[in-house]
């Protein structure tokens, strides 16, 4: 088996597939009121799909006035990257300033490819190749999407507002595997909608997030852990 070749093709395949939905991010970001460069900078610097969608989602609902909750939502959704980083730190063995770069490429996909390899050499290779591939494709397709979004004009005519709702659903879908996750999702959905008319835009999302924190903390409806 040529492990190296497999890692390379997996990395590029994942990078391209994920990069493609950079088109929808770019288009939705422009529809949310960000300009081309603000959209591009989000993909270059923030570089974490869930957080980027959250940021523009809150801005779409409340404009610049809800910048603080937008930042908070993006930050909170990014927490999982911290857990990935802890895992990768011992897995891919980076040191010194290289950590600054590996941190930027620490996302769902690079972690998934790295952790699915058996040999340490391929874990390292998988991380860097996938991270780089997703970065290149994600940023190129963001630019394309932002240009298309600018050309489209009124976002609702082409269903871009519906695409935003669908994008969030598709992002959360793979995580709805347990009863606990499903109940949290349902409650969070309700909390956000019901509070929307009464709270300033952006805050309902944060309130929805609290549902997850409480369920995680108390482990309501969770499985009881036998060993630590």
């Amino acid at each position: 088996m040529n492990g190296k070749g497999t890692v390379l093709s997996t990395s590029i395949g994942v990078g391209f597939a994920v990069g493609l939905y950079g088109i929808s991010f770019g288009a939705l970001s422009v529809a949310a009121g960000l300009d081309f460069w603000q959209t591009q900078v989000l993909s270059l610097l923030m570089f974490s799909g869930g957080s980027q969608f959250a940021f523009i989602g809150v801005i779409a609902a409340g404009g610049v006035a809800s910048a603080v909750p937008a930042i908070l939502s993006a930050w909170l959704i990014g927490v999982r990257n911290g857990f990935y980083a802890i895992r990768l730190n011992s897995l891919i063995g980076v040191t010194g300033l290289t950590k600054l770069l590996s941190a930027q490429l620490t996302i769902d996909e690079s972690t998934a490819v790295a952790t699915s390899q058996n040999e340490p050499k391929n874990q390292k290779l998988g991380f860097w190749l996938t991270g780089a591939a997703v970065f290149l494709f994600w940023n190129s397709f963001t630019a394309l999407g932002a240009l298309l979004g600018t050309a489209v004009g009124d976002p609702s005519r082409f269903g871009l507002d519906a695409a935003a709702a669908v994008a969030f659903l598709a992002l959360v879908w793979p995580q709805l595997r347990t009863m606990q996750a499903n109940v949290v999702a349902g409650l969070a959905f309700l909390v956000a909608v019901v509070l929307s008319p009464v709270l300033a835009a952006g805050l309902p999302v944060i309130a929805a997030g609290l549902v997850g924190v409480v369920f995680g903390w108390r482990n309501w409806l969770g499985v009881t852990e036998v060993n630590k």
Partner: protein, 100 residues
């Protein structure tokens, strides 16, 4: 706050988690409660955003073409269609309904 400042601050905020993970000793966040909270927090925030994007416009709750789009999306996701397909079909459903 300007939108540019928001974009930059949010980017720094998201990066802070990533670099934090490389700098702390492994045991710090290695508890089942912390990883559970991280997972469910993500689920809850994204689900809240689904609700707002699908049912709220200008702080009012209402039903429109976004709902059928979401229903179609659920069906496509059940059949394991890729992200880009689900998003494009969802947008097309809403656009078609508004056309007629």
């Amino acid at each position: 706050m300007t939108l540019w400042l928001g974009v930059l601050l949010a980017s720094v905020a998201v990066y802070s988690w990533k670099i934090f993970g490389y700098l702390v000793p492994e045991r710090v966040l290695h508890s089942s409660m912390m990883s559970r909270i991280a997972t469910l927090l993500t689920v809850a925030l994204l689900s809240g955003l689904v609700g707002i994007q699908a049912l709220v416009s200008n702080q009012h709750i209402g039903l429109d073409a976004r709902i059928p789009a979401l229903v179609v999306a659920v069906i496509l996701l059940r059949f394991k269609q890729p992200f880009i397909v689900v998003v494009c079909v969802g947008a097309a459903v809403a656009a078609m309904i508004r056309l007629f």
